[in-house]
Amino acid sequence: LGGTDSSGGSDGVQIGLLAFEPGSAPQGTAQKQAAQMAVDELNDDGGLLGEDIQLHVANYQGDTTTAENRYLEFVVEDGVDMTAGVFRTEVMLDLMDNIAEHQVVHISGGNTSPEVSQFLADDYDQYKYHFRPYGNAVIWVESVAEFAGYMHEEEGWDTVGILNEEFEWTQPFSDDLPGLLEDQGIDVPYNERYPGDTDNFTPLFDSLESEGVDAVLMSMAHTAGPAQIQWRDEERDFAIAGLISQINDPGAHEAFDGATEFAMSNTPGVHKAELSDQTTSFAEDYYDEYGVYPNDAFAYATYDGIKMWAEVVAQEETTDSETIVPALASHTYEGTRGTIEFNGEDSEFPHDAVFGEDRLRRVNFQWQVDDDGEGVQEVIYPDDLATSDYQEPEWF
Amino acid sequence: MSSHATQSVDGTARTDDVLRLENVTKRFGGVVAVDDLSFSVHDGEILGFIGPNGAGKSTTFNCVSGAFPPTDGTVYYQGEDITGVPQYALVERGLARTYQTFRPLEDRTVLENVSLSMVPNKLFSFSEFRTDVEDRAREICQQVGLTEYMHQMPDELPHAGLLRLEVGRALGTEPDLLLVDEPFAGLTPEEVDRTATLFRSLREDGMTLIVIDHNMHGLLDLVDRVVVISFGEKIAEGTPDEIRNDPTVQEAYLGGEL
């Protein structure tokens, strides 16, 4: 008979991961691999609450309805104790109400708009189950602006254009970035948004060139391919940086047939950046396991998030949300990218990770080609983490 | 009725004119298909409308029935100016036509084809009960000789059957004036006779008809009066006998004495 209470949760601790096209898209693949690794490690250490952790992975195909269906299967049918994943802000926003209704902790692994934490800011009690162990785009914008200031000093970026893909999460890049740049004496003559299905960047690049920009700061998660390829083929006379989500993937150089060379991007973690003493060991273990380095927020934060939650569960000896949420909210965790701590209930962005010198940091890297012709993500900023100097494209 | 009925350019108009064309011209780009054509049709008559191929007969029908408006000139129907009025509205006012090339609805039976023309042009109507419509459609099928084909699809009909269906559909709209384009084309003499008999009986019931055809035996026996056009212009008008013996008509159309 229908309607019976099926949320047992008796058969061990269960985690549900909503991944985007795992096995084919790099984002979802990274989420799945990182989650698997975290769970395997925990199980090797004796599991959680005396039982093995079971990981469920669902492909939500980047679609809200599918995500909702899969989410409900997790919480209603499987009775999972925690959910993780989701890399699109649009999907996450839609899930927030479901999370509130079913009151299961969700640890995001990729989505980045401040709109998500806005839910918590507006109604903490209802939405407090959501955590984001890597912050949001507002912080990222600050980091990108800081990097641009550095390049202004070092490389003479006096004029910078901004070009953002039309998605919710890029909104701070359009709204906040120009001001932050101008404050540092950088001229911003061009600030545009373009549709997410654009594949012709020639006219956009023409406009940027005719504005005489030294660099363009872009935020995008879907159109890096054509943008990179056209930038290189057309030998554009400006540098390209910002937050280019797809090239944060360590496989991007190969996937884009080398078109990423000289492009820069901003990330919460890259294997060359020694953000904490765990970064390298995690990256190498991950490499040994999967033959690739971990990817951006998707791998690092998913891994950290699950581990951190498990630590709290072990400490509280329950998975019950009402106990876990406050505990997690006040917990401090040493992760692969440094110390994770969440913003409090009254902050601007509740439950987004705190950033700062001894907390999480963001790095800017550039794709460079080493002597063997392999593409490497070399950290060029901040200075203390840098592994290489900025390289100018040979066509400039 | 209207004052138009009595005033006329050439004074030939009579008050019982069902249809009157005044100086109707239709141009297609450079081609003048109908050239300053005027004639009228009296109530209850069968008018023959003939002329060589390409003379502009079908085009005239199109201008009258509202398929497209004439370039110039005026068409009066029952005393009212109907120039440019769309076809469906004219049908509602009792002016129907058949086509030279048949256009039945291929997805439904003969009976349903006929029924459609009896359906009201209204969005919400409860006045028409379907059984009434069907009975009437059956009647029409009988009248035009389609009884045995009633439940067949149009593409199963022989040529003559299609022609009768064309007439049947027009009858379904309960016309006062019926324009018929080449009803005898491809019919056997026997069929021609049958069709002509049908037209005569329609006229008995008070209908007025204009018939285009090239079958002179069939047509001239049927009609009361003939209008002949060539190159869009009227070249003759009169009784069948007058037309038969008219040298201009013989030269332009008949190709010698009939």
Binding site: - | P158, G186, L254
Partner: protein, 240 residues
């Protein structure tokens, strides 16, 4: 069975032909032949199966029995091959290229036989001056009769050896009919075989060497015009 010497010059032979449209049996056991240089007319009431017959000969239907043109079975021959072998079929519906000019339509008539195209074009225009006038008009806007002329003209453009005409007189003004009659005579002089389906009996009798009377899908009578004119059965059909 016809005599062996007659078979020798038989260009088209139809034997035991049956064709049906689903449940409708349109032709049943029809035997017809056309010999070298002959003009044959098929007459009969509406729905007798005349068009079905010529459509089958033109290669547009599946059939039982045998239809042989120049000795080869039509079913084994594609329509282009039939045209190649000199057959040309002007259909009842004419099947013109509506959005092409009159001239383009005519030129496509000699698609498989481009030699002498210009000369034949002149001949067609001589035969139907109306078509020359309308040379560059879009075909769909021609009058019914003009289309009929074009259909015939297109047929002549292929320089046919065997011409099938389905109701060539349909929709034609008496004057034009006379022109067509003359055209037909001059084609006949070229020793082209002609197979005509006609409703206009006068027209058929005038041109045919032999006639077949089809009714309800079967041949009821056949013979020369003279022999048929005195036939009672035909008389009732012709209706005087």
């Amino acid at each position: 069975m016809s005599a062996p010497e007659l078979q020798a010059d038989t260009v088209l032979s139809v034997e035991d032909l049956s064709v049906s449209y689903g449940k409708v049996q349109a032709l049943e056991d029809v035997d017809i032949d056309v010999r070298s240089g002959e003009t044959v007319a098929v007459i009969g009431p509406n729905g007798a199966g005349k068009s079905t017959l010529v459509d089958t000969i033109g290669g547009f239907h599946e059939y039982d029995g045998s239809v042989r043109f120049n000795g080869t079975e039509v079913a084994d021959t594609s329509t282009p091959e039939l045209i190649e072998n000199g057959l040309f079929y002007c259909t009842e519906r004419r099947d013109l290229f509506d959005f092409m000019s009159v001239e383009q339509n005519l030129r496509l008539g000699s698609y498989l036989n481009g030699e002498g195209e210009e000369k034949r074009l002149e001949e067609v225009f001589d035969l139907f001056p109306r078509l020359e006038e309308r040379r560059s008009q879009e075909t769909q806007s021609l009058s019914g009769g003009e289309k009929q002329m074009l259909s015939l003209g297109r047929g002549l453009m292929s320089d046919p050896e065997f011409l099938i005409l389905d109701e060539p007189s349909i929709g034609l003004a008496p004057v034009i009919l006379q022109d067509i009659s003359e055209a037909l005579e001059s084609i006949q002089e070229l020793s082209v075989e002609i197979l005509i389906c006609e409703q206009n009996i006068t027209f058929a009798l005038e041109h045919a060497d032999r006639l077949y009377l089809l009714e309800n899908g079967s041949v009821r009578r056949s013979g020369t015009p003279d022999s048929l004119e005195s036939d009672k059965f035909v008389e009732t059909y012709i209706g005087g």
